[in-house]
Amino acid sequence: MAYLELDRVAKQFGAQTVVDDFSLSVGKGEFISFLGPSGCGKTTTLQMIAGFLDPTRGAIRLEGKDLTAVHPAKRGLGIVFQSYALFPHMTAAENVAFGLEMRNVSRNERTERVRAALAMVGLAGYEDRHPRRMSGGQQQRVALARALVIKPSVLLLDEPLSNLDAKLREEMQIELRQIQRTIGTTTILVTHDQNEAMSLSDRIVVMSQGKIEQIGTPQETYEKPASAFVSQFLGKTNDFAAMIDRTAAAAKLVAGSWSAPAPAGLNGAVTVSVRPERIGFGDAGLTAKIVTRIFQGNHWLFQCESECGPAIVIRQNDGQAQPAEGEAVRLSWRPEDMSVRARAVA
């Protein structure tokens, strides 16, 4: 049975629907990311789980019990805010201890658990520091310790890493994943950063304009995007206009001078999506010319102008000679590396 369940949840502000028909079941111990651009409703959904907003329609259940009937102070969820929202007048230890104090945990146990929580996030010895005397990364860790020390049933993370610089963000991602694996808390992360969502989560919920575009593992959403939005939002992608030609004996999928056996179930105008790292230079396929070639250390990035529009190709720097700028090439890929969607013809 699902641990946390959102059943057709919707939120309206006046006439504006911010979240619509949001259904998701989260297993115990799972790490889920809500991924989408700003304004897609991901934070609103998180706030409904936290109880800061009431859903207009639908139900939220935790272990089968209606969560919306529970006051936010009694839900027992751990939340890390984008701004951390630490209490500036309290030390790190007092911040972490606050939730335990509210639960009337005895002083001795409190001290012990606070010490353990701060040690877990790598802040042993920082007990008496005030938040404003700590770096962004350290404040982030205090916020995480404060949320985890109460042993929350679900941990909610609202863009927790977006205020950190790139290097620190990567470190925190790894650490966050390790901590979550160790203690096994069911976690929901809200983020607009696709790398963050992919490296941390068991499953990603891709959202756009208040609706779920796709729910799947990071690989599924990346390899088999359910919509044009998902394929463009998750990493770089090439979309080529193509046609399915069923006039010949063997139905064919044709894009310019590239063709492959047609997939079942589709007809007429389609869009072929291929990731840049799955395209190779060969003797047959889409004719193209290389416009720019950028060296990026472990790989090369090619911007090409093909007969079906602009294309990006990424090749590993494997020591082989690479085509030069201005060179004419043929682009090809394996049928299993592409996804094909029906395309509306204007």
Partner: protein, 291 residues
């Protein structure tokens, strides 16, 4: 850069601030120094002011219990006014801060509105409502039979505190409001998610963080109330004098300028000491919140 240009640029700040500096020295520092000097001069009913150096006025203030009573009353009224504005102003600012956009700006205007009206007009308003038998409220309550005799307001310390608190309220509300603006908008949600009740959130999370605002508002209200003239003059008149009205009377009625100067100087020094002292205390106590 040449030497001359360097010299010129070094002089420039002085040259640029000179007009303001001259104004400051001319209308504030010199009169202040003259007032202090005046307080050491002698005065007699028939001989007038004699420019000699004696401690007569200071000795009189120090030994005559009349002055002690006057200063004690001044600071008592100022302290009570400060407490009243803090007790009413801090919740007022908090409620204001939680209002939605349009109502917020409307009520902010209502709170600041009194600042646009003369202190004299506002104080006279209180006198019209509560002044003796003819005060509007007194008249109404008496004709309704709710009270037998008018509520004493004029010439009472209570009346002075109430009128002063009304005049000073905007300073307290604005000061607390400024502190509230610095709060993390998610901080109440954070405390709530950790299991805190609304009362606990206010007591443990909000109060400690807006305390510096309350205290700096208190300093403003205290110093303005202790040196207030118009309100005590109208409500208290000659019957209930405070330090400011006392100095005024010495200057303009008794014409004993040196004694008036001594009273004014003592009030100024006492206020500066209290304000600077409490400010230092507050800054040390709330170092972590102020950063």
């Amino acid at each position: 850069m040449s030497m001359a240009a360097e010299e010129r640029s070094a002089r420039a700040p002085w040259a640029l601030t000179a007009p303001a500096l001259m104004l400051f020295v001319g209308v504030l520092l010199i009169p202040l120094a003259m007032t202090v000097m005046l307080s050491f001069h002698d005065w007699g009913q028939y001989k007038g002011i004699e420019p000699v150096f004696i401690l007569k006025n200071w000795h009189e203030i120090a030994t005559d219990p009349y002055y002690a009573e006057m200063f004690w009353r001044t600071f008592r009224i100022a302290i009570l006014t400060t407490l009243l504005t803090a007790l009413l102003g801090a919740p007022e600012a908090y409620i204001l801060n939680r209002m939605s956009g349009r109502w917020k700006s409307f009520f902010l205007l209502v709170i600041l509105g009194p600042l646009l009206i003369s202190v004299v007009a506002r104080t006279l308003g209180w006198a019209l409502l509560f002044g003796g038998n003819n005060g509007l409220v007194n008249k109404l309550l008496m004709s309704l039979g709710a009270i037998r005799s008018p509520i004493p307001f004029m010439f009472t310390e209570t009346g002075m505190v109430v009128a002063l608190a009304h005049v000073m309220m905007p300073f307290m509300v604005l000061s607390v409001w400024a502190a509230l603006q610095r709060l993390d908008p998610q901080i109440e949600n954070a405390a709530m998610s950790l299991g805190a009740s609304p009362a606990t959130i206010i007591r443990r999370i909000i109060m400690p963080q807006i305390m510096p605002g309350v205290l700096s508002g208190a300093i403003i209200v205290f110093s303005l109330s202790a040196s207030a003239f118009a309100t005590p003059a109208i409500i208290g008149g000659r019957r209930l004098k405070v330090a400011a009205t006392l100095a005024y009377d010495e200057f303009l009625n008794t014409l004993n300028w040196p004694l008036g100067a001594a009273v004014a100087t003592l009030l100024l020094v006492a206020l500066v000491l209290i304000v600077v002292g409490s400010n230092a205390l507050i800054e040390r106590r709330y170092a972590e919140v102020f950063r």
